[in-house]
């Protein structure tokens, strides 16, 4: 039997997307991708709710989607556990649930589309070793302490460089994903540790901040910056790498296309089963490939 209660070539389906928050640029990028791509499906109406980085808010927004009886629920949980009960309520009520970027606990969801924070960060670590063959001081600008992406990316990167004693992590400080805080913090780091050769940042904004800080003391050439998210567009990380400002960034995939494709299968094609997990591969953006990727990425 099909996954959705009502499916088929009906002319109107409502997709309710509960987004963790609109603050992080990555999030608004996801919104954008969805808004852009959903135009390819005239039957779909996309409604995005801003979870405002609050479990409480996001839970009640999901409940509202339930009240409204949306045809399918997209959700990027702000945190997994808090959203789990309400999501499974939705799922049990027969509304298909597609989770983006972060899984809820348990398995009450139709399928999961996303990347793997830890793996991506680990890959960044690997690349860091390549960047500094004969080692050196490394700094890390962490996200919002204790938020899961921050934790996963921090651990991942450390794991990535663990097997190379020549890379010394001399400073780790939180910048709460924020560019302005990144500038202040990294400026201070450069004072305290003038030999920093490379900085890994948990998101593109932090990387941009690190670049500004380095530039202010004329070190932007000597310090290798690795970002995360790899957002397209002139304000994104890919552009920054292409410009040669950063050493690299890792694309954290939005999975927007994949998610919409699943929605189509479920709602329009009345699919009876869809893949449970769709892992969208990350991509390492380096000066070599940056320009082409930047050109390719529609925005």
């Amino acid at each position: 039997k099909p996954l959705a209660k009502t499916c088929g070539p009906k002319d109107k389906y409502v997709i309710g997307f509960s987004q963790a928050n609109f603050k992080e640029p990555y999030r608004s990028h996801v919104n954008h991708e969805l808004e852009r791509l959903v135009k390819n499906y005239p039957q779909f109406k996309l409604v995005i709710a801003d979870g405002q980085a609050s479990d409480n808010t996001q839970v009640s927004q999901v409940e509202n989607f339930l009240t409204q009886q949306v045809d399918i629920l997209f959700i990027s949980p702000f945190e997994a556990a808090p959203l789990t009960p309400v999501v499974s309520r939705v799922y049990k009520s027969g509304i298909p649930v597609i989770e983006l970027d972060r899984k809820t606990n348990g398995d009450d969801y139709t399928s999961f589309v996303g990347g793997d924070n830890e793996k991506i960060a680990e890959e960044a670590g690997q690349y860091a070793k390549k960047l500094l063959p004969d080692g050196g001081d490394v700094a890390i600008l962490e996200g919002l302490p204790s938020s899961s992406p921050a934790i996963e990316r921090l651990d991942g990167f450390k794991k990535g460089i663990a097997d190379d004693p020549k890379l010394k992590v001399v400073a780790v400080q939180p910048v709460d994903w924020m560019e302005d805080k990144a500038v202040t913090v990294f400026s201070a780091m450069l004072q305290a540790h003038p030999d920093i050769k490379l900085v890994y940042t948990s998101n593109d904004l932090a990387a941009a901040g690190a670049y500004i800080a380095a530039k202010q003391v004329g070190k932007e050439k000597d310090i290798k910056i690795i970002g995360t998210d790899g957002l397209p567009g002139p304000s994104g990380g890919i552009h920054a790498v292409a410009e040669g400002q950063w050493a690299a960034t890792l694309v954290y995939p939005t999975g927007a296309a994949e998610a919409l494709d699943l929605a189509k299968k479920i709602l329009i094609d009345c699919a009876e089963s869809v893949p449970r997990v769709v892992t969208v591969p990350t991509q390492l953006i380096t000066p070599e490939n940056a320009k082409d990727v930047y050109a390719k990425e529609k925005f």
Binding site: F22, N64, Q68, A81, P145, S146, S147
Partner: protein, 350 residues
């Protein structure tokens, strides 16, 4: 003697011969509900319908609203005392976070039971509040600074307590599991219609209203906020009152933190970020004067519910995020203006 008592009463009976404004007074007593009424009426009017049913009034939807405001509501109850006493407490959100983390760690990592964990959390939260109150009162530092610092301190403590991670609360027996009883905070009672979190809020609301209006303590809070010198002259323990109200906010934050942990089976140092503003907003929209000395508990409750209902009806109508922000701003002001307009008779009481 007798005719003397008679003579002044001429003068004063003149003072009282003026139109008795009792009915208006009555409206005014409930002015703080007008905003809520406005929003509810609007909510019903604009609510989307599905085969005849008004979604806004669906039991599920109402349950959702009252649940979503239970935590800020609890915080607002305590905040009402503080603000009436002419203080302010910015730390409530952070203390909520701290409490939920403590609850989670003690239950999961330390493997304590509920009857040891919950009391301890409440005690800690209350003490935290009292300490802030004491510093602010004894060292004569403005409450704004002390509680802003308290906010930071609480978040710091939470990070330490949790070891910079968030903690999932999973139920079951044996180590690393919380007693399933705790899960009730996330559930609904009475045939799945009434969220337990809201029940907690209601119970506290009743208690808080009682204390504010029917105990000597409540009186003193008004007096201290309204005219500290007068209060002191009347032999009221001003210092103690000014300190204790922060104990109340602390306690409320503790309860809210436990409710948070229970609702979301989760404790994170960042829980409750920004809740303080919502709580204060609820209090102030409820007609309590930020300069102290005047306010009602029912107003605060109405204010909290209003904010929840407002957010809900906007989202039910698929209003875009940007528009939601604009509408929220506009309606909050409108509601407040309506209330003060009705309430404005006596210029002297600003």
């Amino acid at each position: 003697m007798t005719n003397e008592t008679a003579t002044p009463s001429i003068g004063v009976s003149q003072a009282d011969a003026r139109p008795k404004l009792r009915p208006l007074d009555y409206v005014v007593r409930f002015q703080s509900l007008l905003g809520l009424i406005l929003v509810i009426v609007g909510g019903i009017a604009f609510s989307p319908r599905r085969h005849g049913h008004i979604l806004f009034l669906q039991p599920d939807n109402i349950a959702n609203i009252v649940r979503s405001i239970s935590e800020t509501g609890i915080l607002a109850l305590g905040m009402t005392f503080v603000i009436i006493a002419a203080g302010i407490d910015l730390s409530v959100g952070a203390v909520l976070g701290l409490s939920s983390v403590l609850t989670a760690t003690l239950l999961i990592n330390a493997g304590w039971g509920l009857w040891t964990t919950l009391p301890l959390v409440l005690v800690c939260a209350t003490l935290f509040g009292l300490v802030q109150g004491a510093i602010s009162t004894r060292l004569h530092v403005q409450a704004f600074i002390v509680t802003l610092a308290g906010l930071q301190a609480a978040r710091g403590l939470a990070l330490i307590a949790s070891g910079n991670v968030f903690i999932n609360i999973n139920y079951g027996s044996g180590p690393g599991n919380a007693p399933p009883a705790f899960a009730i905070l996330g559930e609904r009672l009475f045939y799945n219609t009434f969220p337990v979190a809201t029940l907690v809020f209601l119970v506290l609301a009743v208690i808080a209203t009682f204390f504010l209006n029917h105990t000597r303590y409540g009186r003193y809070v008004f007096a201290v906020g309204g005219n500290e010198r007068a209060a002191r002259l009347s032999g009221i323990p001003v210092e103690w009152i000014k300190i204790s109200v922060y104990g109340i906010t602390g306690l409320c934050s503790g309860v809210a933190g436990i409710v948070h942990a229970g609702q979301f089976a989760f404790g994170s140092p960042t829980d409750g970020t920004g809740y303080e503003l919502n709580a204060i907003a609820a209090v102030v929209i409820g007609g309590t004067d930020l300069f102290g000395g005047a306010g009602t508990m029912v107003g605060t409750i109405a204010g909290a519910v209003m904010l929840g209902a407002l957010a809900n009806v906007l989202q039910l109508n698929d209003v875009s995020a940007a528009m939601q922000l604009l509408a929220t701003g506009a309606i909050i002001v409108a509601a407040a203006a309506l209330q003060t307009f009705v309430g404005r008779r006596d210029v002297r009481s600003r």
